[in-house]
Symmetry: C2
Subunit: 241 residues, 2 copies
């Protein structure tokens, strides 16, 4: 057995959308690590239910907070940094002991994944392999039946946390867009998409590929806050109907 | 058996990066269709070698041209349109006969995939399911070991065919970028990335996850034309080393 950290992309949520490679590594890893919010099983962990070695050691990394502390608060960066340091040290101890570790990630690990913060801390010193996964957005636009980018379309992936002017400026320079971190920003997103002439062709997807999936035109979405697993998709002009 | 068109994303090239779902559907499909360039096996077809039913009917859709005719030429649109019409009709005939079809796609089908043109023609009338795949770019940045987007980074996917001013304008409004369709545009890409202050952290990836893979800093890439399976990655600032 050789010490190695496998950072496994698990795809958008449907366990069958895991790669053959991730499934193979998962079935043989003696240590399985994953992030979870307080009081939750952990989304990545729930995707792999029933697929781990029976004797696998599970390392549950519970975030110290999620939205309680604003990102701008200096304590946020400090506390999250200390949290990731501690997670990395738990993994490093097992790597030094020669163990193989599967670190579970929703979607694709290097696209807005928490696992990047552990890769940043461990990648230089330890053998590491990143197994790419189907991105959450791919799962969503496939389920919505919306081809996103034809020909020379430009696609931008934008966090809804950007302010209105920045969002608008960026939307005006792309043909297709994915807006992540929707949460309480839904009214702003609608205003900005109207300004960019993209509102009519925008879709809202909640829990794409998972139980409780909801897909509708953004214009048909009720007002109010969106849950964590939601995004807004703007297909390029050719993908619009 | 129920007639259905499965549009299967096969991932970036390594057959193990196919999803469990794509592999399952592939192994039972009586009809398998794929695009190929003249004189080539077809990249998607080569990914699934040895995984099809022995008695599967294979439909090879050979592009009438690839780069011989410029996209601006009116004959390009007309001839490609007629080509896709013909492909769609071949699939429709089999769907009307009650057959299940697997249409093979490199990467993720709805991200710059030719299969979208068949979905556009068949999706409204026939039962269709899109199985998302690992995008080519995810395969590339995982192999390059470059976390792309941290926190609130904006990611843009840009075709290198855009003119210099448009490319620059868009690069200046994102943190991370993927530049596709590199081909003969490499000198322009380098100039524009220098202008945007992104050249030093850019990577060049050729045949990511496949045999003959090459990964190097863009600054170390020799001049000259790049092959089809190449892209330039600009990680967000936190992913740069």
């Amino acid at each position: 057995m050789t010490a190695k950290l496998f950072i496994l992309g698990l795809g958008p949520g449907d366990p069958e959308l895991m790669t053959v490679k991730a499934a193979r590594i998962l079935g043989s890893a003696p240590v399985v690590a994953f992030f979870a919010k307080r009081g939750r099983i952990g989304h990545a962990r729930s995707i792999v239910d029933g697929q781990l070695r029976e004797d696998a050691e599970e390392l549950r990394f519970e975030y110290p907070f999620t939205t309680e502390l604003p990102v701008e608060d200096p304590r946020y960066l400090a506390e999250m940094g200390a949290f990731y340091d501690d997670c990395a040290e738990q993994l490093a101890a097992r790597l030094r002991a020669g163990q193989k570790i599967a670190l579970l990630c929703e979607g694709d690990p290097f696209l807005y994944g928490s696992a990047m913060y552990l890769f940043d801390r461990l990648g230089a010193e330890h053998a590491t392999e990143v197994v790419p996964g189907v991105a959450g957005m791919s799962g969503c636009w496939s389920r919505a039946g919306r081809p996103m980018t034809h020909g020379d379309d430009v696609l931008s992936v934008l966090p809804a946390t950007l302010d209105e002017a920045r969002l608008l400026e960026r939307l005006q320079l792309c043909d297709a867009a994915v807006i992540m971190k929707v949460g309480r920003h839904l009214p702003k997103i609608c205003r900005v998409l109207r300004g960019a002439g993209m509102f009519e062709r925008a879709f809202y997807v909640e829990r794409g590929t998972m139980a409780g999936e909801r897909i509708l035109r953004l214009s048909e979405r009720e007002e109010g806050t969106a849950p964590y697993f939601s995004m807004v998709l703007v297909p390029g002009r050719q993908g619009a109907r």
